[in-house]
């Protein structure tokens, strides 16, 4: 059946239980809500953008461990990076999650890909074995991309 024990172990579980950057962001320039109708996950991501880069990010809401862990990872990974990296990293996250899982799942080794995934994303590798959970892992990233697309403070809902 599934390898849930892979999913709920180690770094992913730890981050999902104790996420960093969880809470409001007083000086946010961009905010958007991500909502997954499949499981009822609802996260709001906040970003403070300065000179085309992320000065600071945070998120809040109720969601499963996978969505929370990924959101937390995002707020750390994208801080001090260009806003363009949001979409680019989301694309690489998606392709990483869509890679075949027929090979033995390893949480450390990078599998072959034209553009390797940032090693920081490797913590999400176990999600590959759970196709219905991939959406949880991309929820916060999609909300952030939405927030960037609409200038200023905004709140948009992702469609499934």
């Amino acid at each position: 059946m599934s390898e849930a024990d892979d999913l709920y172990r180690g770094a992913l579980l730890e981050r999902g239980r104790n996420p960093t950057n969880f809470g409001p962001l007083p000086h946010a320039t961009h905010s958007a809500e991500g909502y997954s109708p499949l499981c009822g996950d609802r996260l709001t991501v906040h970003a403070h953008v300065e000179d085309g880069g992320f000065a600071e990010l945070s998120f809040e809401g109720h969601a499963c461990i996978v969505a929370v862990a990924s959101a937390s990872l995002m707020t750390e990974y994208l801080a001090k990076r260009s806003t363009q990296d949001a979409q680019a990293t989301l694309d690489r996250l998606r392709s990483m999650l869509n890679e075949s899982t027929s090979a033995p799942t390893s949480t450390t080794a990078e599998t072959s890909s034209s553009e390797p995934s940032p090693s920081a994303l490797a913590v999400l590798l176990p999600v590959r074995g759970h196709p219905l959970r991939r959406r949880c892992a991309t929820l916060a990233w999609e909300a952030l991309v939405d927030a960037l697309a609409a200038p200023g403070l905004c709140s948009t809902k992702r469609r499934p």
């Binding site: 059946m1 599934s2 390898e3 849930a4 024990d5 999913l7 709920y8 172990r9 579980l13 239980r17 109708p37 499949l38 499981c39 009822g40 996950d41 609802r42 109720h62 969601a63 499963c64 461990i65 996978v66 759970h130 959970r133 949880c136």
Partner: protein, 447 residues
């Protein structure tokens, strides 16, 4: 007349349901699992050499597994009778039409209606609600009218009425539920004091499990001149259905939750209402005469007239194999001892409720006195989606999410929940497996 059904339900559900809290008697109630063990053998997805590990399937409210006799009936239809219905006159067409209409009679008998021509085949409950909203609704609902729904409706018995109200300027009124998950009958009575065109209500809630007193509700609604649409998706698989005793005007259910195939369901419409309804989809099989009066090149056919009876609402080639499979499922259920089946399902409900109440931090959503065999719950600090994934790793299949009932989840202030639901093939052992898997899940997930 209506109260007969209700008293029948009460007696079927056992005398201990009325006064004692659910689950209190589980320790002393008779274990009916033999019924489940025997039934399970009829379901190839749950038993047999090809099943490499035991599946604890607790998601029957989403869709039931299918007995071999249903699979065989579908194969037999395609092998020996496949042809389009009510069109050709060759032997296979006769055989196919006969199979389709025999299935319609079977369904009519199953829901206790007067005649087969009160049964319209549809894809499922969702399509039935949309059919009524678009056909009956467009003709009968005007700006300023009211449609009443309840807070415990599935989206499929909510959104069609919401859109009908938006498009006609009618008002949508929502009847509240109490904290235990009972429909607020006082609120309903009060709401019906204002003229109302239609009441759309579920027979049994897919989240709370609550069995609503439909006969009483229909009496109230009819006294106020309102029609009643009953969503029977969760009741038809568990309770004897008698649409005449219930007194409803429309009753819809899905075959796939009733151990039949997906993509087939039925809508009962009281005949005098059916005769006044316009078609909602147009095409082959539902038309009497199409545009013969002005069939000049470039001209739009001026006239068309429609078939009478259910055919008017069955445009296009119907799902004949589905109807045959549904009839086979009903035959299968009829061969079971209905009282034994129901007491078995109620035993599972009590046993599971008692087991879940032992879990720290677990809260059950829906504590009505009469419930179908399902339990929805949340666990403090544990997201239902994570829970479902960990339970799945132990071979236990449950549902997580909002179960297509977001308004109800809003009412209880939660975004998602977990649900276990039972079919005739489940056993107490399945519940024990759930308990063990829950213990494991909490050791992994609990904060």
């Amino acid at each position: 007349m209506g109260s007969e059904t209700e008293s029948q339900l009460k007696s079927v559900q056992g005398s201990d349901v009325g006064s004692a809290p659910l689950g209190a008697s589980a320790a002393v109630a008779a274990d009916t699992s033999t019924f489940g063990e025997v039934a399970r053998r009829d379901f190839p997805a749950l038993s047999g050499d090809h099943v490499d590990r035991a599946l604890v399937y607790l998601d029957t409210a989403a869709t039931a597994q299918k007995p071999q006799v249903v699979l065989d009936a579908i194969t037999d239809y395609y092998t020996n009778a496949n042809a389009n219905v009510s069109r050709g006159i060759h032997t296979l067409a006769e055989r196919s039409t006969d199979a389709f209409e025999t299935a319609r009679t079977r369904v009519a008998d199953f829901v206790g209606c007067a005649a087969a021509d009160e049964i319209v085949f549809v894809r499922g409950t969702t399509e039935a609600a949309n059919l009524v909203a678009q056909s009956w609704g467009r003709t009968n609902v005007r700006a300023g009218d009211r449609i009443v729904v309840t807070a415990m409706e599935h989206h499929s018995n909510w959104l069609p009425w919401q859109r009908l109200c938006e498009s006609t300027g009618a008002e949508l009124v929502v009847i509240a539920t109490d904290d235990a998950g009972n429909l607020d009958i006082d609120h309903l009575t009060e709401a019906l004091e204002t003229p109302t065109k239609l009441l759309a209500v579920t027979h049994a809630s897919n989240v709370l499990g609550t069995i609503n007193p439909i006969a009483t509700i229909c009496e109230l609604a009819h006294a106020a001149n309102a029609r009643v649409f009953v969503d029977g998706a969760q009741s038809a698989p568990h309770l004897p259905i008698d649409v005449r005793a219930l007194g409803c005007d429309f009753f819809a259910f899905s075959g796939h939750k009733l151990y039949g195939p997906m993509g087939i369901g039925a809508l009962y419409v009281r005949r005098e209402i059916l005769d006044g309804m316009d078609p909602w989809q147009l095409g082959g099989g539902m038309v009497l005469e199409a545009g013969t009066s002005s069939n000049v090149e470039g001209a739009v056919p001026a006239t068309a007239s429609w078939m009478n009876g259910p055919a008017r609402f069955e445009a296009g080639t119907p799902n004949v194999a589905g109807a045959v499979g549904l009839a086979a499922a009903m035959n299968y259920l009829e061969k079971q001892d209905t009282a034994a089946r129901q007491s078995h399902e109620q035993d599972l409900l009590r046993y599971a409720t008692a087991a879940l109440e032992e879990v720290p931090g677990l809260r059950i959503l829906g504590q009505a006195e009469t419930k179908v065999a399902l339990v929805t719950f949340t666990i403090d600090g544990v997201h239902p989606h994570d829970l479902a994934t960990v339970l799945d790793s132990k071979g236990v299949a449950i549902r997580s999410g909002h179960h297509c009932a977001q308004p109800l989840h809003d009412r209880f202030g939660i975004s998602a929940s977990a649900r276990v639901s039972f079919g005739l093939y489940n056993t107490r052992t399945d519940v024990d497996c759930l308990s063990h898997a829950l213990t494991h899940a909490l050791s992994v997930l609990a904060p």
